[in-house]
C-alpha cells in the first residue's frame, strides 16, 4: 500500500511497485515509465490553488491508501481489417506503432495524473484501424477496476489510418460495490486524413470510487471525430478531453452527459485547439444534478494565429433537480485569428414549469412528467449515439438513475 504523493518517501514506494508490478516489458516501455515517474515527482500533486484544480478537491484521493493493480481490459468487436488487442499480444509491427505514438498526444507535462498513469503503465489496449478500413462493428473496450483500494491505470491507444472509419466504445466500471478504488485512465486517439471516428466513453464506476480520465485526440486534414462522454458513476470524476484539429477541414463534435446525485462531483474540462484554418468544432456538455452534487465545466477553445474561418460552438446546459446543487461553468476562448466564428453558452435551470404543466394538463402524473422532461433533456445527447444497443442501454441506465422529481410544485 502506498499513498499517492510526490514527496520523496513515496517515490521510494513507487520504486518498489515498479519492480513488483511493472518491472517487465521491453526497454522502451521501462524507459517510458521511468520518464513518467520523474515527471510525476516533478509536477507534484495538484492542489486547489492551481487554476485547473480550483473547483475540484482531490484531498480524498491524496488521503487514500492505494495498491496498484494490473489492467485487464476486455476487448471485442472491430471486424475485418481491424487490429485490436493488448500490448502483451501485439506483433512487432504493432509494437513499432505503439512505440512511435504512445504519449505523444497525452503529454504528461502539466498533467500529474497522466504522469501517474505512465509511471505505473502495464497493459495497454490497442485499436488499429488501418488505411481505408471500415470497421464492420464497434470495438468495445471494457475496463473493470480492481478491488477496493486498488489503483488502476488503464491506457488506450487508438490509431486510425487515412480514410479509416470506425466506432470505439470504452467503458469503465468496478465490481467493488463500495468503491474506494482509484482509476487514472488515459486514452490517445490519432485520426488520420479523411477518417471518420466515433469514440464513446462511459464512466460507470462504483459509487465511492475516484475516476480521473484523460482523452487526447488529434485530427488530420478532412478527418472527423465524434466523441461522447457519459459520466454516470464515481464519487469524484475528473475528465479532461482535448482535441487538436491539425489539418484543414478537420472537425470534431464532442458530446457530454453527466448525471450526479448525493454528494458526487464531476469536473469536465475540454480543450480544443484549432491549429489550422477551416476547421469546425462543436461541444455540447449537458449536466443533470440532484441532491447536493456539484459539477464543473470549463470549455477551452484555442484558435491559433492564422487559423482563419474557424467555426467553433460550445454549450453547457445544466438541469438542477434540487436547490442544493452547484455548477461552475465557464468558457475560455483564446482567439488569435480574426476571421473566426466562436459561440458559447451555458444555462443553469430547473425543470420548465410550463412544460410540466402542459404534460400534466394532458393527464400525465407529475413524477412521470418530470422524468419525461429529464429524459428528453438527456435524449438530445443519447440520440446522437449511433450504436443502437449502447444507446438503448444508456437510455435505461440514465432513466434508472433519475431521482423521483416531484413536478407537483410546477
Amino acid at each position: 500500500m502506498s499513498r499517492i504523493t510526490a514527496a520523496p518517501p513515496a517515490a521510494t514506494d513507487f520504486e518498489a511497485l515498479h519492480l513488483r508490478i511493472v518491472g517487465e516489458g521491453p526497454d522502451w516501455i521501462r524507459e517510458f515509465r521511468t520518464n513518467a515517474r520523474s515527471r510525476f515527482v516533478l509536477e507534484g500533486l495538484p492542489h486547489h490553488r492551481m487554476e485547473a484544480w480550483r473547483n475540484t478537491n482531490i484531498a480524498p484521493i491524496v488521503a487514500g491508501l492505494f495498491e496498484p493493480a494490473c489492467s485487464t481490459p476486455e476487448i471485442s468487436g472491430g471486424g475485418e481489417g481491424v487490429w485490436t488487442g493488448r500490448l502483451s499480444q501485439a506483433p512487432e509491427k504493432i509494437l513499432a506503432l505503439v512505440r512511435n505514438n504512445l504519449g505523444s498526444l497525452a503529454d504528461a507535462e502539466g498533467h500529474p495524473f497522466t504522469a501517474l498513469n505512465g509511471s505505473l503503465l502495464n497493459e495497454i489496449t490497442l485499436v488499429v484501424l488501418p488505411e481505408g478500413c471500415a470497421a464492420g462493428e464497434p470495438v468495445t473496450i471494457g475496463h473493470t477496476a480492481g478491488p477496493g483500494n486498488s489503483l488502476n491505470v488503464p491506457r488506450t491507444l487508438i490509431l486510425a489510418g487515412e480514410r479509416a472509419i470506425g466506432t470505439i466504445i470504452e467503458t469503465f466500471e468496478g465490481t467493488e460495490t463500495e468503491g474506494g478504488y482509484f482509476t487514472s485512465a488515459v486514452t490517445e486517439i490519432f485520426c488520420g486524413k479523411d477518417t471518420d471516428v466515433k469514440y464513446c466513453r462511459v464512466q460507470r464506476e462504483a459509487p465511492g470510487s475516484f475516476h480521473i480520465g484523460r482523452v487526447q485526440a488529434r485530427v488530420e486534414q478532412g478527418g472527423r471525430l465524434h466523441t461522447a462522454g457519459i459520466a454516470l458513476g464515481a464519487a469524484l470524476d475528473r475528465e479532461d478531453a482535448g482535441v487538436i484539429l491539425a489539418g484543414e477541414g478537420a472537425s470534431c463534435e464532442m458530446d457530454g452527459l453527466f448525471l450526479t446525485d448525493e454528494s458526487r462531483h464531476v469536473d469536465n474540462r475540454t480543450r480544443i485547439v484549432h491549429a489550422v484554418p477551416n476547421c469546425r468544432s462543436r461541444q455540447v456538455y449537458k449536466g443533470i444534478l440532484s441532491d447536493r452534487s456539484t459539477a464543473v465545466f470549463v470549455g477551452r477553445v484555442i484558435v491559433r494565429p492564422g487559423a482563419q474561418h474557424t467555426d467553433a460552438d460550445q454549450s453547457n446546459p445544466n438541469l438542477l433537480l434540487s436547490d442544493d446543487t452547484t455548477v461552475y461553468t465557464r468558457p475560455q476562448l483564446e482567439i488569435y485569428a480574426d476571421d473566426v466564428r466562436c459561440t458559447h453558452g451555458a444555462t443553469v435551470g430547473q425543470l420548465d414549469a410550463d412544460a410540466l404543466f402542459y404534460l400534466r394538463s394532458r393527464g400525465i402524473d407529475p413524477d412521470e412528467a418530470g422524468r419525461l422532461l429529464v429524459k428528453g433533456f438527456a435524449g438530445e445527447i443519447l440520440d446522437r449515439i449511433e450504436v443502437p444497443s449502447l444507446r438503448t442501454q444508456l437510455e435505461s441506465e440514465v432513466a434508472g438513475k433519475l431521482p423521483v422529481t416531484s413536478g407537483s410544485e410546477g
Partner: protein, 256 residues
C-alpha cells in the same frame, strides 16, 4: 357540466379574475370573447388547474365535483382538455409517446384497458385523417420547432385522440390559415355531442361561422360583462369592445 361561480383569481397579489360566473351544460358550445388582457386565458388555465394563479374566492364545479380540489392531471383524466393559446415546446419528448402516455393515463383512471401499440396506432391514424396532421409531426418531439399553425393543429389532434368531455380552446384559430381553420373547425365539430361541451376563446367571428356557438360571453377586466346568443359576436365585430365597455358598469349578469 361546468359551473363557475363568482370566481376570483390573482397572480402575485394582482387580481385578474374579478368574479366570473359561467354555466356550461352538456351539449352546448360557448364562445368567450374580450379584449387582450381581459383574463380569457387566465380563466382557461384556472379551469385546467394551473397553480401559478391563486383562486381567492368562488367555486368551479365540474360534473358535480369540486374542480379546484383536483390536480391538473386528474382534471384531464376526468375529461377536461385545454388547447393552449401558446402550446409548449418540449424538446426530447416524442409526440406519439407523450400522447399514448396521456391517453392511457385517462383510460386507466376511467377503469378502461390501456391501449397497446397497435390499437393506439390505429386510433392515431384515424384522427390524423380528420385533422390532416402531417404524419412526420408525430415522430418529432412535442411541438419542438413546429410552426404556429402546426402547434394549433397538434392541439386539436391531441384533443381528438383524448376525446374529452369538456374542451376549452384558447385562441386555437389565431395563426391558422383559412384551410387550416376549416379543418380545425371540422375537428371540433366532430367532437360535439349531447354529453359534451366546448368553450372557445376567440377574437374572431370567422371561427364562429364554422363552430356555431349557443352562447357568446364578453369578458372585460376579469368579469363577464355581457352574454348573449351568437348574434352578439357579430355585433362585437362591428362595434368593437369599447361599445360593450361603455354599456356596462358594475357587476355583470350571466347566463350560459
Amino acid at each position: 357540466m361546468l359551473s363557475v361561480k363568482n370566481l376570483k383569481a390573482s397572480i402575485d397579489g394582482t387580481e385578474i379574475l374579478k368574479g366570473i360566473n359561467l354555466d356550461v351544460k352538456a351539449g352546448e358550445v360557448h364562445a368567450i370573447m374580450g379584449p387582450n388582457g381581459s383574463g380569457k386565458s387566465t380563466l382557461a388555465q384556472v379551469i385546467a388547474g394551473r397553480d401559478t394563479y391563486e383562486v381567492t374566492e368562488g367555486s368551479v364545479t365540474y360534473m358535480g365535483k369540486d374542480l379546484l380540489e383536483l390536480p391538473p392531471e386528474e382534471r384531464a383524466r376526468e375529461g377536461i382538455f385545454l388547447a393552449f393559446q401558446y402550446p409548449v415546446e418540449i424538446p426530447g419528448v416524442n409526440n406519439t409517446y407523450f400522447l399514448k402516455a396521456a391517453l392511457n393515463a385517462a383510460r386507466k383512471h376511467q377503469g378502461l384497458e390501456e391501449l397497446d401499440a397497435m390499437d393506439f396506432l390505429m386510433l392515431v391514424r384515424e384522427k390524423m385523417k380528420i385533422i390532416q396532421l402531417d404524419e412526420e409531426l408525430l415522430h418529432r418531439p412535442v411541438n419542438a420547432g413546429f410552426s404556429g399553425g402546426e402547434k394549433k393543429r397538434n392541439e386539436i389532434f391531441q384533443m381528438a385522440v383524448l376525446d374529452p368531455k369538456l374542451a376549452v380552446l384558447d385562441e386555437t384559430d389565431s395563426g391558422l390559415d383559412i384551410d387550416a381553420l376549416r379543418t380545425v373547425a371540422e375537428g371540433v365539430n366532430s367532437l360535439r355531442g349531447k354529453d359534451k361541451a366546448i368553450v372557445v376563446v376567440t377574437h374572431y367571428q370567422r371561427l364562429l361561422e364554422h363552430i356555431v356557438p349557443d352562447y357568446v360571453h364578453v369578458l372585460a377586466d376579469g368579469r363577464v360583462v355581457r352574454s348573449g346568443g351568437r348574434e352578439l359576436a357579430l355585433e362585437l365585430e362591428k362595434e368593437g369592445y369599447s361599445w360593450v365597455e361603455q354599456q356596462t358598469a358594475g357587476p355583470a349578469e350571466t347566463r350560459g
